[in-house]
Symmetry: C2
Subunit: 252 residues, 2 copies
DNA sequence: AGTGTTGGATTGTAGGACAATCCAACACTA
DNA sequence: TAGTGTTGGATTGTCCTACAATCCAACACT
């Protein structure tokens, strides 16, 4: 088989114009495979609970088993796969409880990031948020569900990045695959998009006040008031006050 | 070389009496090596910035390069090592900024866990906290720094575990190596231990009130008021209000 | 001082080998 | 029939060897 490595890969949506000066990131085959895993889980070709046969999959992907195993280690670290010794790796399942956990974790992480961002806001950062918001709005207008999700994700990612808190960003990144998965599984009607878009504007305004308390609270309540959270969280009222009340479901 | 696997490993300090019914966890060699890495970083035999030569270290540890590489992947996922393609893995360094990041991240995670725990507190959980506290107190009395750190860590870990929020626990676990590293690097005088022990009692009391707000706030302020945080965070006043003010240092 | 060039060290990946483990199916026994 | 051995194939865990790709520092050139 081909023994050459995947040399370089640029995320094509590289927003900032300074493509030239931006650090070039070589991508190893292992990372490439890991990314494929993420996408496969997110787009549903790898279903929750599905097991992974190393030799078989390695051959189908035309990579060595070692390479595949390393990729699996990464995904396990990110929580997308689970693995017990001597047993196949499995795609983790997304139960209502897990859903609640993801949303609350996001809430405290993004809430804190918003607090930081509010304190360190610069005109450039604000401009960037507004740019992304434009795209969100446009996607909502165009009724483009996939595009809307992409920019929605980008919005939250931007907040995390601009908060300047590296560890928090890392932590957020590790659960971001779950976030994407949730985006993918929510069956919004087109009616949901526009109010959602307008709400993002309110988030920007909350951050723009410069008041850390307002910014943090806005992000927190916002994440926990999402309809899909409500749906999964069953009878729970998901206000900021009730942030700590998990849904009580039997299945893990 | 030896081709047999490391069969099973029990954490000897397995508190709960039902050793028999508890699930048996086989440990792969990769995990064993990963654990060695963690300990080495924490006890200082692997110094921050130090680079890792795969073949060399693999031979010295009597494991194959593949096994070592998988272990490295795990540690990279936990953030203890950093790795760029085609370059050696390196032990990440703990700058003042990083220190601030760890403490604030802990604060929001543990704070939220305390909130949950306050709401779901049972007599058994409370008893467990008090048991651990006994050990903390005893270690402080005996002036045993290492023992104190161990039980201090166990205390916080117990809060995370008993909060019942799996994802939060996972997230916390991933940065726990950093926490241990901080414990290891703080050069407390013996005088610091007893007040610290007594303060842990106050944490228990805050949780025992059952008021999520009180519990969360107590944990948050507590983590950010630690002397070692103050030391690293330089001129910052680390009250709950100033939670979001990072130290401004040049070196990353 | 700035820019080619080169060789050795190291990482990235493949692929084969085999022991250890698991699991499901079957056989046996009370 | 329920419970308990037994067994063989499938799969994972680990090691090994091999070599291409990459990096880096040292040297040479201009």
């Amino acid at each position: 088989m081909l023994k050459t490595r995947v040399p370089f890969e640029f995320s094509l949506s590289d927003q900032n114009g300074d493509l030239l000066t931006a650090p070039v990131q070589p991508v190893s085959l292992v990372n490439f495979v890991a990314e494929r895993f993420r996408r496969s889980v997110i787009n549903g070709s790898l279903k929750p609970g599905e097991e992974i046969n190393e030799s078989q999959l390695a051959e189908r992907m035309s990579v060595s088993r070692g390479t595949l195993r390393e990729a699996i280690r990464i995904l396990v670290g990110e929580g997308l796969l689970e693995k017990l010794p001597n047993r196949k790796a499995r795609v983790r399942t997304l139960s209502p409880t897990k859903f609640w956990e993801i949303m609350t974790t996001r809430a405290i992480i993004e809430g804190f990031a918003a607090r930081l961002l509010a304190q360190r806001l610069t005109p450039e950062k604000l401009a960037r948020l507004n740019e992304i918001w434009e795209q969100i709005y446009r996607a909502a207008e165009a009724n483009d569900r996939a595009l809307f999700s992409d920019w929605d994700f980008a919005f939250h990612q931007a907040i995390m990045e601009m908060s300047g808190h590296e560890l928090l960003l890392e932590t957020w990144s590790k659960i971001s695959a779950w976030i994407l998965l949730m985006f993918a599984t929510q069956e919004h009607t087109s009616a949901d998009m526009m109010p959602n878009a307008l709400n993002h504007k309110k988030i920007i305004e909350a951050i723009a006040t410069g008041d850390p308390e307002i910014a943090e609270t806005k992000l927190k309540t916002d994440l926990l008031d999402q309809p899909e959270y409500q749906r999964f969280a069953q009878a729970q009222t998901a206000s900021a006050e009730c942030i700590a009340a998990p849904p009580s479901d039997g299945q893990k």
